[in-house]
Amino acid sequence: MTGWILFGLFVFFSLLAGGTHGLKTIFTLLLNMGCILAIVALIIHGWNPVITALIGCLVITCLILFFNCGINAKTMASFLSVFTVLVLQLFFVLWITDAANLGGFGFEDLNDVAGYSFDIGIKISAVATACIMMGLIGALTDTAIAVSTAVFEVKANYPDSAFSDLYASGLRVGKDITGTTVNTLYFALLGEAATLMIWYHIYDYSWWELFNSIVFCREFIKLCFFSLSCVLVMPVCAAFCGSLLSGSLHAWMTKIEKGMQKLKKWIQDE
């Protein structure tokens, strides 16, 4: 009941803020939720968590980018950069979750998980990797779109700009949004972990107890990975945008765009 009223409030504010675009946002949101549910369902039925999450993340990225903004050079550049950063980071995340054994529940979780059998037959550090990958996909796509939109604006206003100019302007925009993106992630995680912080305050943990506790470490490393992905995607996206617009990939991109136009025409004719 409360959930439905809040959802109504959310729909009302989206209509107020964006009109019909607000409805489109809500529709994408529902699709994304469906994707998350599907990924979770596949993982609990025994699919490999890391591979499922990686493929699921790519599907979600396609949904957000191509459904919301259409197939064009801008979304292609964003998709390529998201893919690159995701795959690069996957190995780092896998290594760290394994080295620090981040997946498991800690002593602080015992209130919630006491009474359950722990013999679940799924390697939990792989699940932790999947969680981190899925958690960062939203922020990653957000940053990639912001950078590529800005670079394409520059190209539209100054058609002669070379690769290095476009790359530099992409980085400049990236600099401006680092602060706010990191803050968004920080507050979202702080909102979730406020009770945990109260716990640490009441039991008066020392610094070394804090940084070796599995639960604190999990939240801290999660925040670091989320922010890291946003920071890494900026130069990658700027480079992809630059080379798609006036670099080595430019010829390739024009071919794709021509193909898309032909496809559109063909669909209209049929």
């Binding site: 009941m1 803020a17 609990i44 803050n183 070394w208």
Partner: protein, 373 residues
């Protein structure tokens, strides 16, 4: 080809000598810090041991309530103490572990473990994780400085200041009896002012962003809280809040967490909106209010979809391990498991949409000033 690349690299290095030197110094410093955490066992009060040898012995296969198979094993670890007065001594420890590792850890040679002395015998309390945490943080610090330079440093600084302020707010709540809602509200106003001043600097743009953030936070907070409290928390299982210790005012605690969780996203929107509109006004001082409004709508459209997704994924992914545990115990999965995350997400979503609307309205009026004609 390679020759050309080499000459280009040489030219780049000679042009950017100072920056590169700075980065090299930073990388050296950070790797030194990470190495220090690897050897910092002498700072610990509890004994720390390094795993030298592992003998593993399978103890059988157990089944979960829905029939998953899980191998259990007993590890016999040879540890060498690396701090305290028994430094260098070898000891034997036993450790029960499972394949999945839900509530236990499987150790490998080279791992460092925290120990505890119980009844004269050493028992393992857990893995020493500070090196890994330091490594990830060092990589983040290096990346953020390399990409965003000074702004990245300022961002991390503002996060650190916020963490300290939050700790003071918790002190006020826990030890001085201030209501958690009120202390959260005060602290989020201070957060908002500090963060925006650090990000934007001392100018008109910053004031417009701060004002629009505060207005949207107040309106959304009042609306969502009245809704949740009016429905008497029906369908919101706030008593199941994780890590809850003080159960007397768990409802206020949950509402305070809602407020904090959506604050960052709202600041993000208001700052971007103010920055975008300010740029348009600077290009053309006499720009008409209608066209500003139109651009504001376009800026808002770009942001709202992706921002809502950020919150969705950040919130929902955290509960996956718990969902998996519940499912494999043969319990039915229902809405109550993710009800808190959903409410958090919906409140954050309302906050985002409302701040898109209010920040456009306020920024246009504040930044453009009176009509000259």
């Amino acid at each position: 080809m390679i020759c050309r690349l080499l000459t280009q690299a040489k030219q780049y290095i000679s042009e950017n000598k100072r920056t590169l030197l700075l980065f090299a110094f930073l990388a050296l410093f950070l790797s030194g810090a990470v190495l220090f955490t690897y050897f910092d066992a002498f700072l610990y009060d509890c004994p720390v041991g390094e795993v030298i040898e592992v003998k593993i012995e399978k103890t059988g296969i157990y089944h979960s309530p829905i029939g998953d198979e899980e191998g259990h094993a007993l590890q016999t670890l040879t540890l060498r103490l690396i701090n305290g007065k028994n430094k260098g001594k070898f000891i034997l420890c036993e450790n029960e572990c499972t394949d999945s590792g839900v509530y236990d850890e499987t150790y490998r040679p080279g791992d460092r473990l925290l120990l505890e002395i119980q009844n004269g015998a050493y028992t393992i309390t857990g893995l020493k994780r500070d090196t890994v945490a330091a490594l990830v943080f060092a990589v983040l610090l290096f990346a953020i400085v390399a990409v965003s330079r000074l702004k990245g440093v300022m961002t991390l600084l503002s996060v650190a200041v916020n963490g300290m302020l939050f700790s003071y707010a918790l002190d006020a709540y826990l030890f001085h009896g201030v209501n958690i809602m009120i202390s959260a509200l005060c602290v989020s106003i201070i957060f908002c002012v500090i963060c925006i001043l650090i990000v934007c600097g001392w100018n008109k743009k910053a004031f417009a962003s701060i004002l629009s953030t505060l207005v949207s936070v107040l309106i959304v907070t009042v609306l969502t809280f009245v809704t949740i409290w009016g429905c008497d928390f029906e369908g919101v299982f706030a008593e199941g809040l994780q890590y809850l210790i003080i159960e007397a005012d768990y409802r206020f605690t949950f509402l305070a967490m809602l407020l904090l969780g959506s604050l960052g996203a709202m600041m993000d929107i208001c700052v971007s909106m103010a920055a975008g509109l300010q740029e348009l006004i600077e290009k053309d001082h006499g720009i008409a209010r209608a066209s500003l409004n139109k651009s504001g709508i376009a800026i808002g459209k770009d942001m709202m979809g992706t921002m809502v997704n950020v919150l969705l994924f950040t919130y929902l992914c955290g509960s996956i391990p718990y969902i998996i545990l519940v499912y494999h115990n043969g319990m039915t999965l229902d809405y109550s498991i993710i009800s808190l995350e959903m409410v958090r997400f919906l409140c954050g979503g309302c906050g985002i949409m409302a701040s898109v609307f209010f920040s456009r309205w306020i920024c246009i009026r504040l930044l453009r000033g009176r009509d000259q004609s």
